[in-house]
């Protein structure tokens, strides 16, 4: 099967993730969408790695997972503290600062 299809899938996932970021209110969900985008990237990387027959892509994918994990740690910490002080995880409620 032509590896290019995997790329299409990856871009599809990426777009879905991005769209999610734009339309969802709940901070957690938004964050999950970002994770989805990262994974889309991983897919693309792995595909290319396969196409080129070298391992760089796959290695990067591993790093990406680590990074994603780290982001989860930091991100959840921040989001939770926000949630606890506002009793809401909606990104739209957090709009004290504007203009």
């Amino acid at each position: 099967m032509n590896p290019v299809n995997y790329l299409y899938l990856a871009s599809l996932l990426f777009t879905i993730g991005a769209a999610g970021v734009l339309i969802r209110r709940n901070a957690i969900v938004v964050f999950m969408c970002v994770e989805l985008m990262l994974n889309a990237c991983n897919l693309a990387l792995v595909t290319f790695s396969r196409m080129h027959g070298n391992l760089d892509g796959q290695i990067i994918a591993f790093f990406t997972m680590v990074v994603a994990a780290a982001e989860v740690v930091v991100g959840l910490a921040i989001i939770v503290s926000l949630f606890r002080s506002r009793h809401s995880a909606s990104v739209d409620d957090a709009s004290l600062m504007k203009l």
């Binding site: 734009l22 339309i23 938004v30 990104v91 739209d92 709009s95 504007k98 203009l99």
Partner: protein, 631 residues
Amino acid sequence: MENLIALLVAAPLLGAAVLLCGGRRLDRIGHWLGTVLAAGSFLIGAVLFVDMIGKGADDRALHQKLFSWVPVESFQADIAFQLDQLSMTFVLLITGVGTLIHVYSIGYMEHDERRRRFFGYLNLFLAAMLLLVLADNYLLLYFGWEGVGLASYLLIGFWQHKPSAATAAKKAFLVNRVGDIGLSIAIMLMFTTFGTFAFGPVLEATGDTGEGKLTAIGLMLLLAACGKSAQVPLQSWLGDAMEGPTPVSALIHAATMVTAGVYLIVRSGAIFDAAPTAQLVVTVVGAVTLLFGAIVGCAKDDIKKALAGSTMSQIGYMILAAGLGPIGYAFAIMHLVTHGFFKAGLFLGAGSVMHGMNDEVDMRKYGGLRKYMPVTFITFGLGYLALIGFPGLSGFFSKDKIIEAAFAAGGTQGWILGAATLLGAGLTAFYMTRVMLMTFFGEKRWQPDADGNEPHPHESPSSMTIPMIVLAFGSVFAGGFFGIGDRFVNWLEPVTKFEHPHPPISIPVITGATIAVLLLGVAAAYLQYGRKPIPVVAPRGSLLTRAARRDLLQDDFNHVVLVRGGEHLTRSLVYLDHKGVDGVVNGTAAAVGGLSGRLRKLQNGYARSYAVSMFGGTAILIAATLLMRAV
């Protein structure tokens, strides 16, 4: 000898400096100091005069260069003096009459606490006037020209607390400035044409350039002359200038400063000779003014304004004469000198009358004063006779010559000018007789003024009468002395050139006509003012009378067109500057501010909308990149 020339100017200048900076401690001796310095200047003049007549006719001119004034490349202006017969004539007139008027003022200004400053200004005037007539180039002449303007401004407005005086002073200065435009443009033209503006080189080089240039220069000079000598259309200031103390009117606005215009034209004779068109315009201006002044003079009830009208008219004669070229120059100057004597005398007389009448100027409130102030009456009377050109007195000789010259102008021009001068002579006789009658004859018409104190007419102190007497002598004999045997003409001839006028009709006829017209004028005046009593309140009078009272509406015209118009213009410009020029800038600023406010709204605090902008931005970025490659 020539080193004395600078002293002529220096003496009164010193006086002015000392008196104006000296402060109160000089109050007691100030007027004496001023008078002495004026007299000193006169003496120096006399010495130079004696020296001059000692020499042969053609090497009488003296020249003194002090230092280089404004040297820039080819533009070289010096502070340098030139004393020739023409200048000498003026020097003597200015310092002579000037000294007399200083003396007169000692008495006249006795009760004014600012007398010291008055004398300071008078000295300043003398210095400037002498500078004017002694300058050897037009720029230095301009210096003196504006200097006398300043002095006249200060003296007209001497009683500054009177708004009318302050306004009159300002008006005089402004109108003169308009004339000055002419002078400065004339100088520029000379510079660009001849590369110099010193009398000698310019007047010799007139042949090297076209008539057009010379006409332009001539007309510009004429404009200047009109300003200074109160000729139509710039005459309007002279009447108001009578707000100044009477000695000032006598010295500046009768005898000397106002004649500077004549000096300018005569001095520039060579230019006018080469520019007939300019000459024609000069004669026209002269003719118009002499009639204008005479008509105005007939209508005024204010004695000084009546005399002012007369001054205007007489200067009209001089200008006309000057416009006639070599046949007229000498007579113009001659009339100028004689006029200096009798008109100064008349003004001093008027001043003496006012002095006795609590500064009343309205002739309708005089009447029968001959009994109360005989000296004034006699001197004034002699001046009167001289002015109207009574045979044998000064005016007769000088004015008659001008009339002859006018006829001699040739062709229709000659006839018209001659007629104008004749008519003028008649009018002169009329209004001067009117003045005489209303002032010294008839019943006494003065009443107690508002606060009940009735004027007690009395003769003035000797310090005032003596100058009047001296001037009266001049008025009587000067003309004959100059006129008989063409003494004066020959004296000036080296400077101004001279041709004998050849009028189309014989001289005796003209003289006869002049005398006839004169008598007519006197008779007419007598019928109107000598026979029937004079109403204290002026009758409404004919349209012409009313117009003449208002200076033939010329002032009203100025007011409506220039003053009002100017006010509107400035006001609208102020508005435009604020709303227009400034508005554009402020508008732009406001626009940017508004834009900022609107863009600011995009920053709405919602993380998701920020994400949208990022996403959109990225999309554009990608699209643009691909597009770049595509095209």
